[in-house]
């Protein structure tokens, strides 16, 4: 507390602007809570359409995080630790989906992996595999938009932990694989956890790329955001309740994660 006193009072303009920012973030969510017809909350929660959408959302967001962990970690490591020609170009390419409107991401995925896509076409002809309209397509779309968040987060953690511990481990006789497993990854753990949380959150809210690439059918490709959007076309009241369900679910999971892993000092 003595440190606080030495720094003096927080400047009023800063406090005022911070208050505006907090209001902007909190008020819309509060009105959603107040405006939700809570009477129908639980009956809706039990309906088949909502249970299906929740199941698909939970499954796909979980698989997306697994996909990011398995594929994104090596990519982040490569970008942070290995010097190769075109590295900065690759890093830039990895960042692109971050700034891409999700619908454009969906169109890009259709162009590549659709039934008549550049990759999807031959895949369909050779093996009879079609990706659109399957849960796999939802996971691919989610991984496409979520992976950049994960890779950037992990790459940042790898860079800030630095290479010197790796070097020390190597001089002590550790192979590169051992170093990665016992030194590099444990040091990058905060970045891995934060990146997973970001990727998971992005996947939970993903809508544009999913509906464009994977479609929208209850039980296979309809996630909560898709269900909310289509319901909004017909019954805004129900859509508000559905939004509330998604909000409650995400806040609950976030709170659980925060207690366990994401506690900020």
């Amino acid at each position: 507390m003595s440190q606080q006193a030495a720094l003096g009072r927080p400047p009023t303009p800063l406090v005022a602007l911070a208050a505006v920012a907090a209001t902007l973030l909190v008020v819309p969510l509060l009105t959603l809570v107040v405006d939700t017809p809570w009477g129908s909350f639980f009956s809706l929660l039990g309906s088949e359409a909502v249970l299906d959408a929740l199941r698909i959302t939970a499954l796909t967001s979980l698989l997306t995080v697994v996909g990011c962990l398995v594929l994104g970690t090596p990519l982040a490591w490569l970008l942070a630790r290995v010097d190769f020609p075109g590295r900065s170009l690759l890093r830039a390419a990895v960042t692109v989906p971050l700034v891409l409107p999700p619908v454009v991401a969906g169109v890009a995925l259709v162009t590549a992996l659709g039934r008549n896509g550049v990759v999807g076409g031959p895949l369909h002809d050779a093996f009879g595999v079609t990706l659109p309209y399957t849960t796999t397509a939802v996971v691919i779309a989610h991984t496409f938009v979520s992976m950049p968040f994960y890779v950037l987060s992990v790459e940042g953690a790898l860079r800030s932990s630095g290479e010197r511990y790796d070097v020390v481990a190597a001089t002590l006789g550790a192979t590169r694989w051992e170093t990665l497993r016992r030194v590099t990854l444990p040091l990058a753990m905060p970045g891995i956890l934060a990146g997973s949380a970001l990727a998971w959150a992005r996947s939970l809210g993903e809508f544009g790329a999913t509906i464009t690439f994977a479609g929208n059918y209850p039980g296979t490709t309809q996630t909560m955001p898709s269900l909310i959007y289509t319901t909004l076309q017909g019954d805004p009241e129900v859509a508000r309740t559905l939004s509330m369900i998604l909000l409650v679910a995400s806040v609950a999971i976030l709170a659980a994660l925060r207690n366990r892993w994401l506690t900020t000092p």
Binding site: G114, R115, G156, A194
Partner: protein, 244 residues
């Protein structure tokens, strides 16, 4: 992490357009299926009124009705069914009038990869077909037709609006789709069109009305009159609409 935050802050910077000031301007909110015909109608209206600019906003009828009730700065509302128009009743300056009708047809990509020869081929179950979600007007019609024809095969996807259905078919991501006759006309050679048995009995009607919040009430009424006049009706017929 800082870089990530900066990016996150920049992401939602969407473009905010500002309209340029012509002498006067009216804004018409129209259902997505009216895209081609109302673009032509707007050009016709601008030809007749030299210093007037017509701005068009196309979206799903439900969204537009909600915007109209919410006080969106617009002058005319045209929706793809009477239910959505009724939901905007509070914002209407006059009783809505029916100006067009539409029916559903089955379309396939130009190369017809599934070899469809009639609507009945959907029942084989090997055909990947898409329809509108049943909360959208096009989905209500599709659901009625599917029930009436006893089609048991399920669609691969329920799209949010009829343009998405058409896009899925044209791009070949679906073997077939249920769209409005007008969409099939607009798509031209990009699709093959097949009749749906009983489609003539499930007709969608399009109402139009001037809005309360209009600051150009006279021009708004004149636009409605043009749509209902013979010249406007001819444009709509050319686009594949039926006459009420």
């Amino acid at each position: 992490m800082t870089r990530l935050l900066t990016l996150a802050l920049l992401l939602p910077l969407a473009a905010c357009g500002a309209g340029d000031d012509a002498a006067s301007k009216i804004t018409v909110l129209a259902a997505a299926s009216l895209t081609e015909s109302f673009t032509t109608l707007a050009e016709e209206f601008e030809r007749e009124h030299e210093d007037v600019e017509v701005e068009l906003a196309f979206d799903s009828s439900a969204t537009l009705a909600e915007q109209a009730v919410g006080g969106a700065p617009a002058d005319v509302l045209a929706t793809a069914d009477t239910a959505t128009m009724d939901s905007a009743a509070d914002a209407l300056a006059a009783d809505p009038e029916i100006f067009a009708t539409n029916t559903m047809v089955l379309v396939t990509p130009a190369d017809n990869p599934a070899g469809i020869t009639s609507y009945d081929d959907l029942a084989t179950g090997d055909v990947t077909y898409v329809v509108c979600v049943d909360t959208a007007p096009c989905g209500k019609v599709a659901a009625t037709l599917i029930a009436a024809t006893g089609l048991a095969a399920e669609p691969a996807s329920l799209e949010v609006d009829v343009k998405s259905v058409l896009a899925k078919v044209i791009s070949g991501e679906a073997d077939a789709g249920l769209v409005y006759a007008t969409d099939a006309v607009a798509a031209g050679a990009a699709v093959q069109t097949f009749e749906i048995p009983g489609a003539a009995e499930v007709v969608t009607t399009y109402p139009i009305a001037p809005l309360d919040q209009s600051e150009e009430a006279d021009l708004a009424q004149e636009f409605v009159d043009l749509v209902l006049a013979e010249s406007g009706q001819q444009i709509l017929r050319d686009a594949g609409f039926g006459t009420p």
